[in-house]
């Protein structure tokens, strides 16, 4: 039985059983997981895959609600890493004001001045890697490894909707007020855009969406 926890950088896929009707595809890296998710979506759109849910994770994709997991497991390595840039999502701009309560702490962790955080954070082309935590909360990937940021020692009991936060190499925007342990660096000016049940899709930052933060002054 293997005890490895991380795989090689590319080309490494494992199909893991996730119950009688689920397959967790461990892709080893975030990049491979996003390519695999796009490939699975394309197969579903083309009628080649019947599944209730496709759930991307940091380095995995869960395929849930399949009748014959063994067929999927036998089939997927041949196509799952064929990245097709055409199916990447559009770019969404998020207007923000860099005024978060943890701005100075994050600047210190990054070894920069507080006024430099905005330039660093808004220069990155992000991609929504996956959603989790609360409906519409997207883990945005793209921050360079040197800006990896620990969570706060003590989570806040209430983080306001629209707070822009960093943790690990992810950044994200809280769609609604909730507890949270990420470090807050900015505020989105109109956070109601993030989640709207009367819109299809309800989430603004669906996995695969490309995202840029744009500085505004309030």
């Amino acid at each position: 039985m293997s005890t490895s926890k991380t795989g090689p950088a590319t080309g490494w896929l494992r199909a893991l059983p996730s119950g009688p009707r689920g397959v967790l595809i461990d892709c080893g890296t975030g990049e491979a997981a996003r390519a695999c998710y796009r490939a699975l979506q394309a197969r579903r759109v083309n009628g080649l895959l019947d599944a209730t849910d496709l759930v991307p994770g940091a380095t995995t994709v869960l395929v849930d609600g399949v009748d014959e997991p063994e067929l999927l497991a036998a089939d997927f390595p041949e196509w799952a890493l064929n990245d097709d840039a055409e199916v990447r999502g559009e770019t969404v701009e998020i207007p923000v004001c860099y005024d978060g309560p943890d701005l100075a702490a994050v600047a210190a962790l990054w070894g920069v001045e507080p006024e430099e955080v905005a330039g660093i954070h808004s220069a990155v082309d992000y991609e929504s890697a996956f959603c989790g935590f609360t409906p519409g909360f997207a883990y945005l990937e793209g921050l360079p490894e040197r800006y990896r940021t620990p969570r706060r020692d003590s989570p806040r009991t209430s983080v306001p909707a629209g707070s822009v936060a960093v943790a690990g190499t992810y950044t994200g925007v809280y769609p609604r007020s909730s507890p949270g342990g990420w470090q807050l660096i900015a505020t989105m000016t109109n956070p109601t855009r993030l989640w709207n049940e009367h819109r299809e899709p309800a989430a603004l930052l669906v996995p695969g969406t490309r995202v840029r933060f744009v500085t505004v002054t309030i």
Binding site: T3, D53, T60
Partner: protein
């Protein structure tokens, strides 16, 4: 529009239908009736399409009044049923005249009773479901005394002249659940895998629609300091946090999680788990990894 009024909401009464499948990639939990077979059967006996919205009670039942004549079936966890104080039958169609009061009493065994009304309930829906999700806050809020919920038109087909199959199979002091091993069995020691097959876990008080928190022999990881990156979770997943005490995920489980899942129980066991009171003992019968995962 006709409606029902909640006169006594009990410990926790929520609206539940088939939930919100297909939105997990947006971090929307599946939600829906926790004990699916009971919910489905109650609806069938009330003459509804199986996906109709019902009330789901928790331990202490609830009391309702309807503004039109309606057929009600109280199923799931067995309980005393009365209409205007007169005893009525659990598990079969009951005619409720407009203005009369139906009480579903405390669960005699199990946890969750289902009240299916002919025509179904029609509270505000979102993402295609009327279900209350305790984790995400989607759907109607848990019901309070005095709340009203719209009733749909009576279905064309009259209620089936059948009754709840007896004995009700949904509850026991000790449950044995088939546990499909994986996806992260390899994060655990060989002793943990062996313990899974022989240990006994107890359902704790800290259990709800999100999951059953279990107490028993700790399941040790190979590397206690390793951190799992967030990955998708299925209903019925047995997730093991750092303290080694597993959580068996239910209807309102989070869509992703950062602790390893050692195995997954199937739909029958998920329904049984939804009716397991604190103190219930659970044993697992591990199902080996499928050949394709090796």
């Amino acid at each position: 529009m006709s409606h029902i009024e909640i006169l006594r909401s009990g410990a926790l009464t929520t609206c539940q239908d088939g939930g919100r499948p297909g939105w997990a990639h947006l971090a929307v939990p599946r939600s829906g009736a926790a004990d699916r077979p009971s919910w489905r059967l109650a609806n069938q006996l009330a003459g509804n399409a199986t996906a109709a919205c019902t009330l789901e009670t928790t331990l202490t039942g609830c009391t309702v009044r309807a503004t039109r004549d309606v057929t009600v079936v109280v199923g799931g966890a067995p309980c005393a049923v009365t209409v205007d104080g007169r005893p009525e039958s659990w598990g079969q169609p009951v005619k409720l005249v407009a203005g009369s009061v139906l009480d579903a009493g405390a669960a005699e065994v199990g946890v969750r009773s289902y009240l299916a009304f002919s025509g179904g309930l029609h509270p505000k829906s979102n993402l295609g479901s009327h279900s209350t999700c305790l984790l995400s806050g989607l759907g109607p809020a848990p019901l309070k005394d005095g709340d009203t919920i719209p009733l749909g038109p009576s279905p064309a087909h009259p209620p089936l002249p059948t009754q709840w199959p007896a004995p009700w199979a949904g509850v026991s002091d000790e449950l044995v659940m088939k546990l499909h091993l994986g996806p992260r069995l390899d994060w655990f020691t060989a002793e943990a895998a062996a313990e899974l097959a022989r240990g006994v876990w107890t359902v704790t008080e800290h259990s709800n629609r999100i999951g059953l928190r279990l107490e028993g022999p700790p399941l040790q990881r190979v590397d206690p300091d390793a951190e799992l990156e967030s990955e998708g979770i299925v209903a019925g997943a047995l997730q093991v946090p750092s303290n080694g005490q597993p959580i068996l995920f239910g209807a309102d489980h989070p869509t992703t999680g950062g602790y390893p899942v050692i195995g997954v129980v199937g739909p029958d066991s998920q329904a049984a788990a939804a009716q397991a009171r604190p103190g219930t003992r659970i044993r697992f019968a591990p199902v080996p990894l499928p050949h394709w995962s090796e």
